[in-house]
């Protein structure tokens, strides 16, 4: 589902080409190129995959293979706010499922989904490395730890109040 509200910017060949040229001075640049494309658009637009392949002289299948191999890359646009739910070992033991459950309730988006209103994308991540503050989530690049169901409510309420812009990672 493409959500109008999240389309920050329409992918343009000029931007994609500039990113390719910036990195293409050294071998093995496909991944850094894709990373910057995602930084720019919040996801890897299908049109970019074709363009990168043409520009860098690699088969489309290879670029697509890289995009689907690495967990970092998304093929879907993001909601306005990105919440990454940590499912590391410590968080698992300390209630990550409970955090995900509550987030789904209050945002309307389950893990891996974007809410109907386009406000929230919830992602499941392996480990944020803040294990001593478990359970934790990362909201628009900022980590919140020692979560309880009440704390989850507060975080979401705060976002709804501020509607901070997304910083992508």
């Amino acid at each position: 589902m493409v959500i109008e509200a999240n389309a920050r910017e329409k992918p343009s060949f000029a931007v994609i080409d500039a990113i390719v040229h910036k990195h293409n001075i050294e071998p093995g640049a496909v991944i850094p190129v894709l990373q910057e494309i995602q930084d720019t658009y919040g996801y890897v637009p299908p049109v970019a995959i074709q363009r990168i392949a043409d520009n860098m002289n690699v088969p489309v299948s290879e670029v697509f293979g890289i995009v689907t191999f690495y967990a970092q890359f998304r093929l879907q646009p993001l909601g306005k706010n990105l919440i990454k739910v940590c499912h590391g070992t410590a968080c698992h033991l300390c209630g990550a499922e409970m955090v995900a459950e509550r987030l789904a309730q209050v945002t309307g988006a389950k893990e891996g989904e974007t809410s109907q209103d386009g406000r929230f994308t919830i992602e499941r991540v392996a480990c944020l490395g803040c294990c001593s503050l478990a359970p934790c989530v990362m909201v628009n690049g900022e980590t919140h730890g020692r979560l309880t169901p009440e704390a989850v409510d507060k975080i979401v309420a705060q976002i709804r109040k501020q509607e901070v812009p997304v910083s992508v990672g």
């Binding site: 071998p27 990373q35 191999f69 499912h87 070992t89 409970m98 459950e101 392996a126 294990c131 503050l133």
Partner: protein, 590 residues
């Protein structure tokens, strides 16, 4: 106002500190000091280790020594400034007692973490003041590459990424290659869930890793290095970039370093989220811009690695040890540790432990000392049940074996592995089948798919575990798991598949009765597995506040205000939210 004190305030601003609100505390302090016109030095530092107490603030002066404040919030700053800095009296209700600090630190030896939590990671002068870049200076001035390799070999340093291969010998292999172009790679793709050692070192003391790479480069004859760091660690990436720029400007990176005939440059490559890229051949594929899939060895990277050239791959912690070893000598280093495992090991202590954090201990210390003396026992007050070491490749060691010394051989003999340093403490409420399933779920998803047994075998194992936790386990399931595990281990090309069954095998080995309880009695002794438990409201304790009903996702809880509520077990999904929000412990689980 007393003016004879020269106060220094440090705020721990590694990711954990930032996550706990460290930046806001730092800003509040900065504003207060400015408003009050106090001549106090305020600086950021990295991870102080006592992560359970974040946000940590250290207030010190030459006259009065050091005081640590734990769990500082911006609201607390006012009193700390007024009473401590101006009044000269620490706010004792918020300080961390010396006794606690001493017991946390007494059994630690900080070599890798020597500068963590003391220097500003974004200030090269701080690193220089702590004898930084003196090791590379010594190496270039007075040692031949062979001497450097001998020194590292004699120190007994072994790879801290998990496998424990002797570092000096690894360098020797690459040194021997006649190729002109060689590479050093720093493996900072710390993908194990529950591990944050490398992140903390990179965020707290990036220059020590850079200096280690320079020394490695000189030893093997390489002129280029890559740091392969997870994109999930934005702060580590940022501090590395700052450190590299500073080191370049100061002449520690580039051509003719310090005026000697040695060129070395370092680039950062960000991993894109694939656990298997921690495996060295997969990591190389990823830097080359391909899918990170391991390949058969030999040839080993020391002969043919990045772009087909000889490549040495060392872990962050391994490299951070190197400058210390060069400065203090191999013998001093090898005084720590056991006969076969020298030096120290950094661990990320987390889970159900009272004092979780980043610790560094001499090899040979027992798990019991780590959990109880350093970690302060369990955080829940429940009995200590087991410790998980080595992440998804490691295993679970039961409390009965808590006197196992931490060294490569002893840990391996339990069926676990040393791994990179994740230590997760588990108490009675942790289900061993659930934890085995958790890790297998992870490795199964992260399998690159190249080897059939790793790709399909782990999935079959996961399905068996799934049905056991759902109450559908059958007779013979344990044996089936063991057989699959053996085959996955044997028929996988890389470390991921070869070690993926370890969490399952060790939990079967030490907690077979728990598997049997799930299969035959349809019970989860730890009361964790959703299908095997029910929640109930204890009427005598329930005041009828309705909070649980408000949080219940399936509207399974109903009742009248001020009267005991009830849970409808048909609708209940056993998420446990009600139990978590109930303030009166009025909900029990069977």
């Amino acid at each position: 106002m007393e003016r004879d004190e020269s106060w220094l305030i440090k705020v721990g601003l590694a990711s954990c500190g930032v996550a706990a609100g460290g930046r806001k505390v730092y800003d509040a302090l900065s504003t207060q000091l400015q408003d009050k016109g106090l001549d106090v030095k305020l600086k950021q530092t990295g991870c102080m280790g006592m992560c359970y107490n974040e946000v940590l603030v250290e207030v010190s002066s030459p006259q009065k020594g050091r005081t640590f404040y734990g769990r500082v919030t911006p609201e607390k700053v006012d009193r700390i400034v007024n009473e401590h800095l101006i009044g000269g009296k620490p706010v004792t209700e918020w300080t961390i007692p010396d006794r606690e600090i001493n017991s946390f630190l007494a059994k630690q030896k900080r070599i890798v973490l020597r500068n963590c939590g003391t220097i500003d990671p974004e200030a090269i002068n701080d690193y220089l003041a702590a004898d930084g870049y003196k090791a590379i200076d010594k190496v270039l001035r007075s040692m031949s590459p062979q001497e450097v390799i001998s020194e590292v070999t004699n120190s007994g340093l072994r790879g801290r990424g998990g496998a424990g291969f002797p570092t000096g010998i690894k360098w020797g292999f690459a040194r021997k290659s006649p190729e002109r172009q060689k590479y050093i790679i720093c493996n900072a793709d710390e993908g194990d869930p529950g591990a944050f050692m490398d992140r903390s070192v990179l965020e707290s003391d990036p220059h020590s890793v850079i200096e280690g790479m320079l020394i490695a480069g000189y030893a093997v004859g390489a002129s280029e290095g890559y740091i392969y760091v997870r994109a999930e660690y934005p702060l580590a990436v940022q501090r590395l970039e700052v450190a590299l720029a500073q080191a370049r400007q100061a002449g520690f990176i580039g051509d003719s370093i310090l005026g000697y005939d040695f060129d070395f440059d370092i680039k950062i490559r960000q991993g894109a989220g694939a656990f298997v890229c921690g495996e060295e051949t997969a990591l190389i594929m990823s830097i080359e811009g391909r899918r990170g899939m391991p390949r058969f060895r030999p040839p080993f990277p020391a002969q043919s690695g990045l772009w087909g050239k000889p490549t040495t791959i060392n872990n962050v912690e391994t490299l951070a040890n190197v400058p210390w070893i060069i400065r203090h000598g191999a013998e001093t280093y090898s005084n720590y540790g056991t006969e076969k495992s020298k030096g120290t090991k950094v661990f990320a202590l987390a889970g159900k432990v009272a004092r979780g954090g980043l610790i560094e201990v001499p090899m040979g210390i027992t798990l019991r000392e780590i959990v109880f003396d350093i970690g302060g026992g369990t955080s829940t007050g429940l009995e200590f049940k087991a410790i998980q070491i080595g992440g998804p490749s490691g295993g679970v060691i039961p409390a009965s074996l808590a006197d196992t010394p931490v060294d490569y051989e002893s840990v391996t003999s339990t069926g676990a592995i040393m791994g990179s340093g994740g230590l997760i403490v588990m108490d009675e409420s942790s289900c061993m089948i659930d934890i085995a399933k958790f890790f297998l779920d992870f490795t199964q998803a992260e399998s690159c798919g190249k080897c059939t047994f790793c790709r399909v075998g782990t999935l079959r194992m996961l399905e068996v575990l799934q049905r056991i936790t759902e109450g559908n386990g059958k007779e013979g399931d344990i044996e089936l798991l063991e057989e699959l595990a053996r085959n996955v281990k044997r028929a996988s090309l890389c470390g991921l598949g070869q070690t993926a069954p370890n969490p399952v095998l060790t939990t079967i080995k030490y907690f077979r009765d728990e598997y049997e309880a799930h299969i035959y009695e349809k019970k989860c002794p730890a009361k964790k597995c959703h299908a095997l438990i029910t929640f109930e409201i204890i009427p005598e304790k329930c005041p009828g506040c309705g909070l649980c009903a408000k949080y219940c996702p399936t509207e399974a809880i109903s009742g009248e205000k001020k009267k005991p509520y009830v849970i409808d077990n048909e609708k209940c999904v056993r998420c446990g939210l009600c139990m978590k929000v109930c303030r009166l412990d009025a909900i029990s689980v069977h």
